[in-house]
């Protein structure tokens, strides 16, 4: 990023306003504090004007937000305690309140448990892999090289912006058992690659590989921004004291990178816990449910018309995400 930002003109910092600032005005900043001048009536009407304008600006957003975000959130909570099915859409009053039945049903469903285990597998292996690759790439780009930085950055970021469906088309070719590009490449080293998508033991590693490929670019960019906030002087001082590159990374860079690391971990975990698209387009959850995820199973229940059950499952995912996020905050905060 350093290579680029230098050319963007003004070096960070607040926007310089065009010369609209009236010269003679006291720079009291807030217009709200303007009560100490002018009659109370005028101030009141100015505040009313401000409030009215604010609401005019807010109303379009609020209407759309209420209809398409807030209302579905509330309704989903309601559905999760009812036995709503697809056919009840036409007769909204025929649904019954069933309490927490949907939740107990979901939690005792073996497929749901399998999906939970798969999701955990995906997060516990996929997240560290993604973060390590991203951090390695970021450190190499930040400290190691001086030229072509933008080219590498661009290339590594490319998978992030591409449609999962198109990616799936290509990756199915890459992962084909006889004749796929990956197994062909493994063959050069005398390794016989597995039947990635057909073997229940290898289907999840294949998807993890694909997800890491697709997502490490985002984390890399954020790490790069974080690394650039680490002052070079600290490294120089440590180098003079005889710390080698690894020690400097471990004891100078990492502690300063902790807020960035926390942020990347939280956002990656939230994304990976909702793991859906990769199995949906690659394996449909198979073979033998070896790649079915929580989000995907929820979507299947929605497809079967079990709206109440699907809503309950989606809230279970939400709770898991909230807990994992809170845990990460605690773990990484405590050690600072």
């Amino acid at each position: 990023m350093t290579a680029q930002t230098g050319t963007t003109g003004s070096p960070a910092g607040p926007v310089t306003p065009p010369p609209v600032t009236a010269p003679g005005r006291p720079a009291n900043g807030s217009s709200r504090g303007a009560g100490d001048g002018g009659s109370p009536g005028r101030v009141g009407s100015a505040r009313r004007r401000e409030g009215r304008a604010a609401w005019i600006l807010a109303i379009p957003f609020c209407l759309l937000f209420l209809a398409f975000t807030a209302w579905p959130v509330v309704q989903s909570l309601f559905m999760s305690i009812t036995d709503t099915k697809a056919r009840d859409l036409r007769h909204p009053f025929s649904v019954n309140i069933v309490g927490l039945d949907n939740f107990t049903k979901a939690l005792s469903d073996p497929t749901f448990r399998k999906a939970a285990a798969n999701t955990a597998y995906f997060v516990l292996v996929g997240m560290p892999l993604t973060l390590v690759v991203a951090l390695a790439a970021a450190v190499a780009l930040d400290k190691g090289i001086t030229r072509f930085r933008a080219v590498f950055r661009l290339g590594f970021y490319m998978p992030v912006i591409t449609s999962i469906v198109a990616v799936a088309v290509v990756w199915r070719f890459l992962l084909q058992d006889p004749g796929g590009l990956i197994n062909t490449a493994l063959g050069w080293f005398g390794i016989t690659g597995p039947n990635w998508l057909g073997d229940p033991n290898w289907s999840m590693p294949a998807l993890i590989m694909m997800a890491s490929w697709r997502n490490f670019g985002t984390a890399m960019i954020i790490f790069l921004a974080g690394l650039q906030a680490v002052p070079a002087e600290l490294h120089e001082a440590a180098a003079i004291d005889g710390a080698n590159a690894w020690k400097r990374f471990r004891h100078v860079t990492m502690p300063l990178l902790r807020p960035t690391l926390l942020f990347v971990m939280v956002t990656t975990a939230i994304g990976y816990l909702q793991f859906f698209e990769e199995p949906f387009v690659m394996t449909k959850g198979g073979p033998l449910n070896s790649t079915i995820s929580l989000s995907m199973y929820t979507y299947q229940q929605f497809g079967f018309g079990n709206y109440g059950l699907a809503s309950a499952m989606s809230y279970i995912i939400f709770v898991v995400i909230a807990i994992v996020t809170a845990l990460q905050f605690r773990l990484l905060r405590e050690r600072t």
Partner: protein, 304 residues
């Protein structure tokens, strides 16, 4: 969208620290020593780069190949006899022109909606004082954390009851505003000097005029970031259009490609690779044009 003079949105935008220590890093290398000796790192990074973009290269090359060649073992890289057959078939037989138009319409409308509505509320939350401000802010921020799967079912029920299934409005209406957009715009506008507002008032400009004429023109960088991210998200959005678009004339590109790749054309490899290329290339072009702004936006907002 004027995106040239661009002080990045510093401000307290996100936990990811803005690169503020820029000044201390004048030279771009590190500790000064051992600069020329990093050739092995270039080799390593180049190998990684090749591995990362190989799928794209192979996809584009493959889209010019014939069926027979695509089934060869071992696979070939360069097409033995390149032809545009797959593309002509894609657009003449499979109606990809229509899907392309649908994707563009939905993405443009969604992007426009987000730019307009989110900047309006973002400004009100950042600069104005009004009743209910806190409640709106909390509600918007609260939903930032709710995963999409929670709202999916009731959203579909809502759209179905409104008779919008299998219509273009059904595809874009639910995405016209986003909590993330408001957050981004609010954070950016908070970094603008409040004096602008007071100066405008002294000059007798109305409240809405101040927003439109003074504040919005200064929001270029934030609007660009939000616009690109929204366009990208909408272009690649897959699950919602898959459920809502039910007849061919309403398909977006990802939906069409997904259905073809699992349907009766699933064995027509050349066609699928050409389809994948058509889905990816437009977004790649947009990305290459705006990549600097784009990556800065990711770095400062930390979201994609």
């Amino acid at each position: 969208m004027s995106v040239d003079t661009a002080p990045r949105p510093t401000g307290p935008t996100a936990p990811a620290p803005a690169p503020k220590a820029k000044a201390s890093r004048t030279g771009s290398g590190m500790v000064g020593s051992s600069q020329g000796s990093r050739w092995w790192l270039y080799v390593l990074l180049t190998v990684a780069l090749v591995a990362v973009i190989a799928p794209f290269v192979w996809m584009v090359l493959g889209s010019f190949k014939g069926e027979g060649e695509l089934r060869q073992i071992p696979p070939t890289w360069l097409p033995e006899s390149a032809s545009l057959d797959n593309y002509t078939q894609l657009f003449s037989k499979l109606n990809f022109g229509q899907f392309f138009t649908n994707s563009i319409v939905v993405a443009v409308v969604v992007t426009a909606g987000n730019l307009v509505f989110c900047s309006m509320l973002g400004y009100a939350l950042a600069m104005l004082d009004f009743r209910g401000k806190k409640a709106i802010f909390i509600a918007v921020m609260g939903t930032l954390m709710i995963p999409g799967v929670v709202t999916f079912v009731p959203l579909f029920v809502l759209v179905a009851n409104a008779g919008l299934v299998n219509t273009l409005p059904g595809l874009f209406l639910p995405f016209l505003v986003s909590p993330f957009g408001v957050f981004l715009m609010r954070q950016f506008i908070l970094g603008l000097p409040r004096d602008l507002l007071d100066a405008g008032r002294v000059d007798g400009a109305g409240e809405l005029r101040i927003f439109w004429k003074i504040i919005l023109p200064l929001c270029g960088p934030a609007l660009a970031t939000l616009g690109i991210l929204t366009f990208l998200g909408s272009w690649n959005n897959f699950l919602w259009p898959l459920v809502v678009a039910q007849s061919e004339d309403k398909y977006t590109l990802p939906v069409a490609l997904a259905l073809y790749s699992t349907g009766q054309n699933s064995t027509n490899y050349g066609l699928l690779l050409a389809g994948a290329t058509v889905v990816i290339i437009p977004i790649l072009v947009v990305f290459l044009i705006f990549q600097k702004r784009f990556i800065e936006g990711i770095a400062t907002t930390g979201l994609k």
